[in-house]
């Protein structure tokens, strides 16, 4: 396959670039013009461009028979994320060549409705998507729009589509702050200490993307990408501590207490701010659920459909 990869300079994108080249695909890797480019092999051809604007990158895109869309704005205000995720995707879709054989979209777990499963329930590919995006953050709002646009376009153009929804991608435990929710002086607050983190190592995630390029596919597949051996917030913190990280004094905060704090903040917002208060994630009920609710996750479909076998579950403490 000749793969056009967007977001090649990013955290996941660079891992996909390496994995794609290692598996023999030739890669047209889209980097932002100001990025430092170090192609890992001769199979990788750097393409300079920014999806927020039409440009010469569209000519290179025409050579591809598979697109892996990894580019998105993961931070910034709503306007920044709309431009970096939604407008960028709109430009990409408008430039897709005729006869594209496959589109692999890197979505996110954040698109799910985390309040939908029952107590201690399972969140999988059949779970419902967030029905009220405006109560969530800009990232969720824009990733939902992005996924909807891509699905509509691929359906209309009859392009086979794989939607991958990775969990929390990490290379080291520091990427998720060792499971901490907050630091207060010498204390480390671990919210929902017994809740599972949906971690997946960046190289495992990249290998799932490569498997999605190669897997047999009729029309559309939606697949969650999480590691095989779940770890709790407390477990991650403990492992990091055991491996010598300089951490503070841990204070586990049960999820029920987190919810009570969120409930109190919700009431205060209604009473004092007409429900318009801007709350931090740890006080905002919908975002609390998305981050710390005790749910279980599965990669059964990824293993069955993609033949994917994550093998770095224990690397976090290495």
């Amino acid at each position: 396959m000749k793969v056009f990869l967007t977001g090649a300079g990013g955290f996941l994108g660079s891992a996909i670039t390496n994995a794609a080249a290692a598996s023999g695909h030739s890669v047209l890797a889209l980097y932002r013009p100001c990025s430092r480019i170090e192609p890992p092999s001769e199979l990788v051809e750097p393409v300079k461009g920014d999806l927020r604007q039409r440009g010469d990158w569209t000519e290179k895109l025409a050579e591809a028979n598979c697109v892996v869309h990894c580019a998105a704005a993961a931070s910034g205000d709503l306007a920044t994320q709309l431009t970096g995720t939604v407008l960028a995707t709109e430009n990409l879709l408008a430039a897709l060549p005729e006869g594209l054989q496959r589109f692999v979209h890197i979505s996110s777990f954040s698109v799910y409705d985390f309040s939908a499963p029952g107590p201690f329930g399972r969140l999988d590919e059949e779970s419902v998507l967030e029905p009220h995006p405006l109560r969530r953050d800009a990232y969720t709002q824009t990733k939902l729009i992005q996924e909807r646009m891509i699905r509509a376009h691929c359906n209309a153009k009859d392009i086979p589509l794989v939607v991958l929804r990775p969990g929390a991608i990490y290379r080291t435990a520091a990427d998720w702050d060792y499971g901490r929710a907050l630091r207060a002086g010498p204390f480390d607050l671990i919210f929902g200490p017994l809740s599972s983190m949906r971690l997946v190592h960046v190289d495992d995630c990249a290998s799932a993307v490569i498997a999605a390029i190669d897997a047999p596919l009729e029309r559309e597949l939606v697949i969650n990408i999480v590691g095989s051996k779940p770890i709790t917030y407390w477990g991650l913190y403990r492992r990091a501590r055991q491996s010598g990280e300089m951490l503070g004094i841990p204070i586990p905060v049960p999820y029920m207490l987190v919810r009570m704090l969120g409930g109190a903040a919700w009431v205060a917002s209604r009473v004092f701010f007409e429900g318009r208060a801007r709350l931090p994630e740890w006080l905002d009920l919908p975002r609390q659920e998305a981050r710390w609710r005790s749910l279980s996750y599965s990669n059964r479909r990824a293993r069955a459909e993609l033949g994917w076998h994550p093998d770095r579950d224990c690397a976090i403490a290495d």
Partner: protein, 352 residues
């Protein structure tokens, strides 16, 4: 008496639309009927964000002919304003245009003339005039608390190069304005100076209008000018290379001086009765005022009462003027005065 709302259309669904649309979605004065943007996805996102059941158009002229709105909000990049304002006026719509309305006073004059010929209102946005602290400052000045105003210093320090204005991943200049990125902000400083001092034309303008960072996309990223207008002096500065972000305004008069900040508002008044030997008492009083401002600002951050909070007040005042056939809160004469002083300042950057 109840009036039917004005049918309203918005052209441009970028960041600034998210400041206009909350008013349009909630106000009984407006009935949103259409959005227009080159990007269907951005347009749909804006409609969804405010639960607007409106028609969506990718072409402004098509939208204007199909919808015949009473009011059009032009919220696109500045270089597109002239064409879109004229198109809206041609379909008998009143127009509210984001600042800067044009890149020069000549273009502004031409648009004002076009609006006059069409018998419609054309208003350039000046939302900061409707912020709490500016309303407070103007009330004190009008009440004579400062005596005769002699000086007005305005500093906007903001790292705008970190955003789209300086993003070298994007092609081309950040704005189509002769004064580059600075000119996108400059009208705020100029109209505040004029409103707070009561001056219009400048006798002299001197200073620097340059590119300090070398960022080619920004065009100009620094401005530090002295303005003299009769007995009034002003210093207007835009800087991207100092922290923290601030929009500091100081007005000094023959009796007293007053200072505020639009990003983290406070009011600090220095003058009678706390002068001479009692000056220290004024400082103590000011300290308590600062503590109260800190608490207010914390509350304002939680309730999302930010720097743009004057926008709905301004829009309501404009809609009222349209409905009642009155002079708008921002007049053609004021818009021209701002455009002319902006021209004089921008010209500093174009001298060899």
């Amino acid at each position: 008496m109840t009036c039917s709302p004005l049918r309203t259309a918005v052209i441009g669904c970028g960041a600034i639309a998210y400041e206009h649309l909350p008013f349009l979605a909630r106000s009984p004065s407006a009935l949103p009927v259409a959005l227009c943007d080159q990007s269907p996805a951005m347009m749909a996102a804006a409609a969804a964000a405010f639960d607007l059941k409106v028609n969506l158009y990718a072409n402004a002229e098509e939208m204007l002919l199909a919808e015949r709105p009473d009011v059009v909000h032009v919220l696109t990049p500045p270089q597109t304003h002239s064409r879109l304002v004229r198109a809206a006026l041609d379909t008998d719509a009143h127009v509210i245009c984001e600042k800067p309305m044009t890149g020069s006073a000549d273009e502004t004059a031409a648009l004002i003339e076009a609006a006059r010929n069409a018998g419609k209102l054309l208003v350039e946005s000046r939302n900061l005039l409707f912020n709490d602290s500016i309303i407070d400052l103007r009330a004190r000045i009008q009440a004579g608390a400062l005596g005769d105003v002699r000086e007005c210093d305005i500093l906007l320090s903001l790292d705008f190069l970190a955003g789209p204005f300086g993003d070298l991943n994007l092609n081309g200049p950040s704005t189509g304005l002769p004064g580059g990125a600075v000119q996108d902000f400059l009208p705020h400083l100029v109209y505040l100076f004029q409103a707070l001092t009561g001056s219009e034309a400048a006798d002299s303008v001197m200073g620097e209008y340059i590119n300090r960072s070398g960022n080619r996309r920004a065009g100009f990223d620094f401005c530090d000018v002295l303005v003299r207008s009769g007995p009034t002096r002003g210093r207007l500065r835009v800087a991207a290379d100092v922290e923290p972000s601030a929009f500091r305004i100081a007005v000094r008069g023959t009796l007293a001086s007053i200072e505020t900040d639009l990003y983290n508002p406070y009011i600090r008044l220095e003058g009678p009765p706390y002068v001479g030997k009692t000056y220290a008492l004024g400082q103590i009083r000011g300290g308590f005022g600062l503590v109260k401002s800190g608490a207010d600002n914390l509350r304002n951050k939680v309730r999302q009462h930010g720097t743009m909070h004057g926008m709905p007040r301004m829009l309501e005042a404009i809609y009222t003027a349209i409905r009642e056939g009155n002079e708008p809160p921002i007049t053609a004469r004021e818009m021209m005065a701002t455009a002319e002083l902006t021209d004089q300042i921008v010209a500093l950057g174009q001298r060899p």
